[in-house]
Symmetry: C2
Subunit: 332 residues, 2 copies
């Protein structure tokens, strides 16, 4: 008889359903089993209020050697490179990777978390902007760029240091009046520290600065208005601009060109990410480079690490500056 | 007793090993099972010369709802977009996708094919340049860009039509003497038809043309030598260049700039692929666009199609031309 005080086990389900233990396992794992057996097992699971979780906990040793990656898409070059590096880091360790392009769909994200709870994958690496996503403490999960609780490691670039580096670089390059332009989520995430780091760098170098921050979805015209407000006698007030991403440099540079302002002659620009043309060519702009390979390795290391009682809640990895044509320190 | 004339079944293995059928299934599927049972099952499999394949064939209905994608990497923007679109096409149908960045590693490719043979994935979509890759006829496989035998569908852009379209476009744009530049595998694959299509287009428009083809790994300097050989009185002989990929346009344009030749003023250029900046922005050059979403949908459709006795061996999907700044038909 089952001890009424402890959580029901798979064995209890088998006894209740009058089937073999293997049949219960098959139902739980979605393997083929006769329809009458499936129904009996499912009814027993309901009746005993059996949680697949207890199965998962009891069988942690039975690995699937599969890890799921949740990422908004793989066509943005940063996500593309990150997916590649995580894939390579996993393959090196003989792990397979399920790719889930979430397109910010919370249902899909939650589905993969359920798979991890049911032990169908060994863990999840997730880059998600979903503030409502609930990840159980006992689901092996590593988050990129957004902290999801003290027990879930979050891996990111050192975004604060990167923002500061951008400010200091613009100061070194002779800028006297700079701006920070951001589009993006007001969520509490690591990339948001770029702004604070930038302000800190400007203050320490006594470099005057302005900020313009758009919410997701706000039109880029807002940047144009902001820039036009800072035009005097046909010249832009700023001689340096730090953008929150390389993509923003690309968009703002087009606006500036339209306004007759040349980059880098009239205004120098630094982005963030380190996007290279075709993934391997020139940097698309001067930029603070995220250490993608190191981020990928750290995610995989921490996810698969089993002999660690306390995993680090936040890991910030060092960034670097690379020239990419939108600053004046080099001759092309 | 087992009929000695037919291939052994999983039941035969269970009888031989003295275990339940479910135990054999678990061993074959890599699920946890007591060590003594595993050994008995494995010995029975050996003794009977049981092929997992017969299991796979007998249980085609037991789906894993998982498909593997073999692709060299995901950081090249074309591969990145293709991975994304295939991922989305599978997720729409409630299928999971294992991503395998092969980096042209034949061992990895063959491993995933073995997984498919053992019914651990429902099928494979592969973009591989490995001429030695062996894919069994009974492994559900769809190939992108390279024919792998009459029973394996190959999905590609209509590369011949694309090459022809490029020639005709250059003629329409007023070019009088054009060149085709290719870097790339001499393998027998679909993209190689771009050259034949281009020649056909030039001939039909009576447009004189030259060809320069580099092998994989040959230095780009070879293009520079070729172009310098075609300089007379400080002017390039060609007023139009078709490159085998957008990436080649990017590389050759840098060479031309170094030589003091301006694109599109002195020479117009058309590439192939349809790469957009950051995956969603402007086309990086004027280009023949591959229909990535349609290619992805067709791959998934044909792979998962079960009620089809004869699958089409080669599907060519229509391409289109898009302006991207390296030709003269539009004002920017």
């Amino acid at each position: 008889m089952r001890n009424k005080n402890s959580a029901p086990t798979m064995k209890d389900v088998a006894l209740e359903a009058g089937v073999a233990l293997g049949t219960v396992s098959k139902v739980i794992n979605g393997l083929p089993v006769g329809e009458p057996y499936r129904i009996r097992v499912e009814e027993a699971i309901k009746k005993l209020n059996y949680h697949v979780n207890s199965y998962a906990q009891g069988l942690k040793a039975s690995k699937t050697y599969t890890v799921a990656l949740l990422i908004p898409n793989t066509y943005h070059p940063y996500f593309a490179m990150l997916s590649y590096q995580i894939n390579i880091a996993l393959l090196k360790r003989k792990y397979r990777m399920l790719l889930c392009s979430t397109e910010y769909n919370p249902r899909l994200e939650q589905e993969y978390i359920t798979m991890a709870q049911q032990n169908k994958v060994d863990g999840i690496i997730g880059l998600t902007y979903n503030p409502d996503l609930i990840v159980d403490d006992n689901v092996p999960f590593v988050s990129i760029d957004r902290s999801m609780g003290p027990k879930i490691p979050c891996i990111a670039s050192d975004n604060f240091a990167g923002g500061q580096m951008a400010a200091e670089k613009l100061a070194d390059l002779g800028c006297k009046n700079v701006a920070f332009l951001r589009i993006g989520s007001s969520l509490n995430n690591e990339p948001n520290k770029r702004k604070a780091g930038f302000e800190n760098g400007c203050l320490s170098r006594k470099l005057p600065y302005s900020l313009k921050i758009l919410d997701d979805g706000e039109p880029l015209d807002e940047f144009e208005c902001f820039l036009r407000e800072h035009m005097h006698n046909g010249k832009l007030d700023f001689d340096g601009i730090f953008c929150v991403t390389d993509r923003t440099v690309y968009d703002v540079r087009k606006i500036l060109n339209k306004m007759g302002i040349n980059v880098p002659e009239d205004v120098q620009m630094i982005g963030f990410d380190g996007i290279q043309t075709f993934g391997v060519g020139d940097y698309v702009c001067s930029t603070i480079v995220q250490p993608v390979r190191e981020i990928a390795e750290m995610c995989v290391e921490l996810l698969l690490q089993e002999n660690m009682t306390t995993k680090p809640p936040l890991v910030c990895l060092p960034v670097s500056y690379m020239y990419g044509g939108t600053t004046k320190e080099f001759d092309k």
